[in-house]
Amino acid sequence: MTGKLKLPRFRSQLPILVGIIVFMMIVLTIISPNFLKVQNFSNILLKIGIYILIASAANLIMITGNLDLSVGAVLAFSGILHAYMCKHGVPIPLSILITCIAAMGWGVFNGFIVGKLRIVPVVATLGTMYIAEGFAFLIARWDGGTNIMLGLPGAYTRLGRYMMFGKIPVIIVFVVIVAAIFLFIEKKTKLGRFSYAIGDNRSAAELSGINVTKVIIILYALSALLAGFSGILQSSRVGLAAPNVGRMMETYVLIVCVLGGTKMSGGKGSIIGVLLGAAIIGLLENGLNLLGIDHFYQEVARGLILIIAVLAQKSSGNGRN
């Protein structure tokens, strides 16, 4: 009884997303001669690769009915920390390891305040976002500048610019691995099943003996780990680290998840949806770029898409509560 406007009901919205993607590709092929080129696709994949890496874990957090707004800041913090250590003589593999652990620290911190202290996730992770970004600026200051570029060892960019078989960017390889891992977590592990249960009915999850706090802490740690690793990859690819590179990343991740059919209130969503959502965002940005449309119109388009995606979710009415 939600008014007269009724959209067709699908068991999942994945077929609709595939339809949208095919439609966008047809339209872009017709209007832009540059669309169907390998270089262009490679650009799109590089761009959305980072979104997917981070969104895969952030998506599970959203499935529990929570949210992680600190991913962008943790990404920036990790890039800076990694660059700083490499510049000051820490071997690169060791620096990667330390950075990943530090990044997970932010996640455990998030998980503790959200899961244990029961602070609203928007507020808690917003706080973490500011703290982590503050530290990113602080580390850059220790180094004596606003960002870290000069003086990095030559091997610094080796990871980020590595091409598998000489042509597949390493980030794509990681996207495939991470997506596969999260597909596995979703379908086959207790962690995945409990995430859905918590988002569906937290009280019932607690009364069923699920350790809700533990699940939430693990998920935030995973999300921060992937944000941190993405920060390392990104900074390694461009050969510089800046404390403000992660800004707005959290909103992209949010859009990708929501577009992919993940319910903000929890209980529903999938990694497949995240992949498709990211593809839509990638195609949209690419299309607008190819058409030479100004940057600020792109922002408008992104905002509209987010709202439309949430509206579409609402009217497709999943579940009765």
Binding site: K190, R193, D200, N201, L207, S208, I210, G267, G319
Partner: protein, 514 residues
């Protein structure tokens, strides 16, 4: 005291989709009296109040207010006609002062600045007449609950209210505050205001009530004057206060009206092994319970029975590690010290919660995913969820409990209430716990499914499980349970052994406080 009728109810009906909440109710409420309304959950008293106050529209019958037909379309319309409600949840804003609370929503502003309100003087007069310790500039958060109620009452009365509905006003009050509220009620009555008083605490009726109406299953089962209920021919020979014995007898009479005739369903004893004591609870107390002592044997079905608010659910809550308590719990003779649900589960308890939608089901997940949730081990193979095992488990329980669903992939939210309850019970049974607690196992479940659930419970007991059933349905308790713990006001009144022709009157007497 003039005795004319202010509210006349005739054949009042209310039908919700699938449920007849009121099935033709007749009674009168007399002007200037305190008229109590009682009944168990779902009996229809809230529906009646909601129709009277404009929250619901009636679907049949008539309602007259001051002799005119009365069919309010909104709460505001009822309020303007002179019927106000004091809700259980108070609407005062703690951060504001008394004055600001009184004028809330009625502020007069000039150029955006708030001016003194006209009605304030009148409301202040009302407050002074009820409780002279409240000052205008007092912040509301330092006032007691009873004082906050006075502020709400003053707001209600300032709109020329002639009928005040009080919805369980004593539910969150201390003994002292109850006295103060009753004083307020008496003063309001002196001012000629008619009060409709809803309470689950039956003994309160004999302190402030003039009349009482009892609801059961959407019907009115009795409207009597309080002296009449207490056994006096008329008000003349009746004392101002009653002695305890009279009150208990009268409460028993009310309980009888609330519960009705208990249809004798044949009780079949379980194969309990009274040599093996599984659970012993000693001297447990907490904020809602006083000195709880009972034990449970292997293969026994123990029932907890009492009226709403007697503390049944609270017993389940402390046993399941949700609420804190003082006292001792022994399982198999050993003292337990678990402090949360996970600990209780490890100790061998499992529970089917009272509110399945709120605490039981995972509505968006399929039946298959719901069932193993309390013991994932049952569907793991080398640490990972096995779809084959999950399907087998789901098929086994769906067959055993005859769950009516399209298939095991159906989301639980789309099942009927009875089938949802079966899924919640299946989830709990899969835990394979030794002590299974079921809180209102058949609430909102149709007759057929009810019978099936009862059979399952009895089957479990015969397999050697120990069962605790909390229920507000006496027939369910006398049908199923081997021993019955009768609760009243957070305490155990008596533990009786069930038998074929158990003395229902005695049970009613105990749960009424006797």
């Amino acid at each position: 005291m003039s005795n004319d009728v202010i509210i006349e109810v005739r054949g009042l009906e209310k039908e919700f989709p699938g449920v007849r909440a009121l099935k033709g109710v007749d009674f009168d409420i007399k002007r200037g009296t305190v008229h109590c309304v009682v009944g168990e959950n779902g009996a229809g008293k809230s529906t009646f109040i909601k129709i009277l106050t404009g929250a619901h529209r009636r679907t049949g019958g008539s309602l007259k207010f001051n002799g005119n037909d009365f069919d309010p379309k909104s709460i505001r319309e009822a309020m303007n006609a002179g019927i106000s409600v004091l809700y259980q949840e108070l609407n005062v804003v703690d951060d504001l002062t008394t004055e600001e609370n009184l004028t809330l929503g009625k502020e007069k502003s000039k150029f955006g600045f708030i001016q003194k309100s006209d009605g304030l003087g009148k409301m202040m007069d009302i407050i002074r007449s009820l409780d002279d310790s409240i000052e205008l500039d007092m912040p509301v958060d330092i006032l007691s609950v009873a004082q906050k109620q006075v502020i709400e009452i003053a707001k209600a009365l300032s709109t020329d209210c002639s009928v005040l509905v009080m919805d369980e006003p004593t539910a969150s009050l201390s003994e002292d505050e109850v006295r103060r509220l009753f004083l307020t009620v008496k003063k309001l009555k002196e001012q000629g205001i008619t009060i409709i008083f809803i309470s689950h605490k039956l003994s309160e009726i004999f302190e402030i009530g003039d009349y009482v109406t009892v609801f059961r299953d959407g019907e009115m089962t009795g409207t009597k004057s309080v002296p009449e209920i207490a056994g006096y021919e008329d008000a003349l020979g009746c004392p101002d206060t009653f002695d305890d014995k009279t009150i208990t007898d009268a409460c028993t009479e009310l309980v009888r009206l609330m519960i009705g005739k208990v249809i004798d369903q044949a009780y079949i004893a379980s194969e309990s092994d009274y040599s093996q004591k599984l659970l012993e609870v000693k001297n447990v107390s907490n904020h809602r319970l006083h000195d709880i002592n009972f034990d449970l044997y292997k293969g026994e079905i123990l029932g907890f029975y009492g009226l709403v608010g007697a503390g049944k659910t609270e017993v389940g809550r402390f046993l399941y590690g949700i609420d804190n308590y003082e006292g001792d719990i022994f399982v198999n003779g050993e003292k337990c010290d678990y402090k949360n649900v996970i600990g209780a589960l490890e100790q061998g308890f499992a529970m089917v919660p009272e509110e399945r939608r709120v605490d039981g089901i995972f509505g968006q997940l399929p039946i298959r995913a719901n069932i193993p949730m309390m013991r994932m081990d049952s569907v793991l193979s080398s640490g990972l969820i096995s779809r084959i095992k999950e399907n087998k488990l789901a098929d086994k329980f769906m067959k055993m409990m005859s769950v009516a669903a399209k298939d095991r992939e159906q989301a639980v939210a789309f099942l009927s209430g009875g089938n949802q309850q079966k899924v919640v019970i299946a989830k709990c049974l899969n835990r394979d716990a030794d002590i299974i607690m079921l809180d209102e196992p058949t609430r909102g479940v149709d007759v057929g499914a009810k019978e099936e659930i009862h059979d399952i419970i009895r089957g479990l007991a015969n397999e050697g499980k120990s069962i605790i059933v909390f229920s507000s349905e006496l027939p369910e308790i006398t049908h199923l349970c081997d021993r019955i713990v009768l609760m009243y006001d957070g305490s155990i009144g008596e533990i009786v052994k069930n038998k074929k022709d158990i003395d229902i009157d005695h049970i009613m007497n105990i749960v009424a406080g006797g």
